[in-house]
Structures are given as structure tokens and as C-alpha cells.
Symmetry: C2
Subunit: 206 residues, 2 copies
Amino acid sequence: MATSKPPAPRSDTKAPRTERGRQTLRKLLDAAAKEFGEKGFHEASISGITRRAGTALGSFYTYFDSKDEIFRALVKDMSGQVAAHAGKAVTPELAPFEVERVALHAFLEFARDNKEIYRIIDEAEFVDPASFREHYETTARRILERLKKGEAAGDLREGMDEAHAWAIMGMNVFLGLRYSVWDEGRESDRVADLANAMLRHGIGRD
Amino acid sequence: MATSKPPAPRSDTKAPRTERGRQTLRKLLDAAAKEFGEKGFHEASISGITRRAGTALGSFYTYFDSKDEIFRALVKDMSGQVAAHAGKAVTPELAPFEVERVALHAFLEFARDNKEIYRIIDEAEFVDPASFREHYETTARRILERLKKGEAAGDLREGMDEAHAWAIMGMNVFLGLRYSVWDEGRESDRVADLANAMLRHGIGRD
């Protein structure tokens, strides 16, 4: 997690009013990512989070009421970080397929540097199903928006559909699991190129 | 789960020697799928499994030593059932892309009828990471074999790679989550057609 970037205020956390408060909240979320990522939700503890964050226990309760609450905030935060990371890499002058390549590449690099994201988002399926679902629905919506734009620009085939977005999201998630989380190799470029060629032309010979 | 089909003997369970034993083992695994699927691993209990199976507690211990052991056997069994279900649908005369379409369609139907499979395989990431990994590595290997065959037959582009297999697996898993588990609609045909067209020709207009 980029410790320098303060999180956006969220409706389900008590939003900090000062810069110092924003930094504390960022530290707590980064520490929570490590604690939940290493121990899993059930073994993780609030005191483990504040110890890692180097903050007093009281600071925790300034922002969160419970372990469940910081977990929920963390899933939202990670979901936002993935989006921000891809968003930063995607610049306005890029052509539609270049956008998909760059977004996948950014995701692969992000997952390599933040391997705990898989464990946390996947555990949300059990700990907080609503957050799990929201993460994927939001991500798919964002991909579909890009596809519709590419369709309107004449670069993508007509009829871009929600199912295309889910298929692309699934590709990206599994490539990240295989090549960023399970494998340490620096393959992001090769994998992003291969997936992008597949997306653009398919794998049929005709 | 198809209660009629006895499971293949497994090295990690005490293989039944009689037809009656095979039926009991099948009942236990089907009951375990329901128990783990509804309650999750931690809340599930051995007595809950035998109650659902309508067997005595002693029968459980004839085949398994613990809740962990039947969970592990169940992941392997479900992984095998998915493979068998797709394998049955794929007939030798099908062309390579037709094979992929039929395999995805069979998976979507299987997931719709056995929604608990997602929860169980996904929970294996936490309860039994080796089984989780083995399921996906085995599935990807099977897909890659099909792709190589299609490449050799001249229907698929040259250079079919493990990453293609992981991308296709990811597509299939996420389409199943969205359209078979989360959505009750009978969309398997439409989704399989759309994904297959995407795989064959890509979504690029050129």
C-alpha cells in the first residue's frame, strides 16, 4: 500500500478532519491490510493492527467500531486503490485496446506489490459478502464503460455487453493470481501483451 | 451433486470396497457439499454432515478422520465432477472452438445446479490452500491441452500458452459467478455464445 496517499473519506468510517487524522487512518488501513493478509480475518486482532500501525488503541476507535468495520473499510479502500492505480496508468490519448493493456499491466504490478489483496478480497466473500459483490460489480461497471467508449469510437465490435466486462475481469483476476501472486517472475509485460492480443483478435486462426 | 454417481476411490480417503460402501461415501460427500456450502467450514460439523447424509457417525469415521479430511476430499471430488461434467459434453467430433463453447456451457449449467461449488472452492483458499491451488492448476492444464490440440489441428493461432489457459479459466469462473450463482436467469446459452465469439475473433473491429 502506498503509505503516502491519504484515503478518501468514506461514509462508513468516521472521516478524519485533519491532515494528521488522515495520516493515522491511512496507517491503520495499511496495517490492517498486513494483519488481515497474513493472519486472515478470524486470527487478526485490533491490537495487532494498532501495533503494526504504531498507533494507540484509542486511535483505532476514533475511526472504527470493530474489526468487522475496519475490514469492510479495507475492502473498499483496496478496491479504490486498484481503480486508482489503473486510472493513473490510463491516459486520455490511449486507444481503446491500449487502455485495456495498460489497465491489466497496472493491475498485475499492483497485485505483485500487494499480494495480500487477493486474500483480503477473497475472504470478503465469507466475512462481508456485500463488499465482495460490490467490489466486482463496481470493477465490471468500470470495464464496461471503457468498452462502450471503445465501441462508440469504432475500435471495438458493436454490442459490447456486461458479459464482456465480466469475462475480461475474470481473465485479469486469474492472470494476476497466477503470475503476480503465485509467481515472482517479472512477467507483467509478456502477460499483458498476450492477453491484449487475445482480446483484440481472439485466438482463432481465421 | 448427482447422488447416483459413486466417487472414484481416492488415495487420501479410505476407499470403500463394496457398492454399498461407495454409496455411503457418495452420500457423505454430497451431504458435506450442502453442509460446507450453507454453513462454511468453521460452522460446519461432522454431525451436521452425517445427519444430512442419514448415516451413522461411525460411517463417517470409516472413511474420514476429521472435518479437514472430508473437506479436502470434497474439493477434489467437486473438481473432478466439474471436469467430468465438461468431459461428458465434449464429444470427439467437435471442432476446437465448439469444444470451448460446450465446456463453458456445461460449466455454467453445473454451477447453476451446484451453487455451493464457489463457496467451497473459494473457502479452500483459506482452509486448504494446496487443494485450492491444485484445482486451478489441474483445470488450467486441461484447458491448455485442448488449446494445443486446436493449435495442432490448425484452428487456433500458433503459440498457445499457459497464460491463454489461465485467461480462459478466469473468464469461465467469473461468468459462472455472475450468471450462474448470482443470477437465476437461464442465460447459459447466450453467455457461452458471447464468450466463445470473443475467444474466437476477439472484440476488435479490425
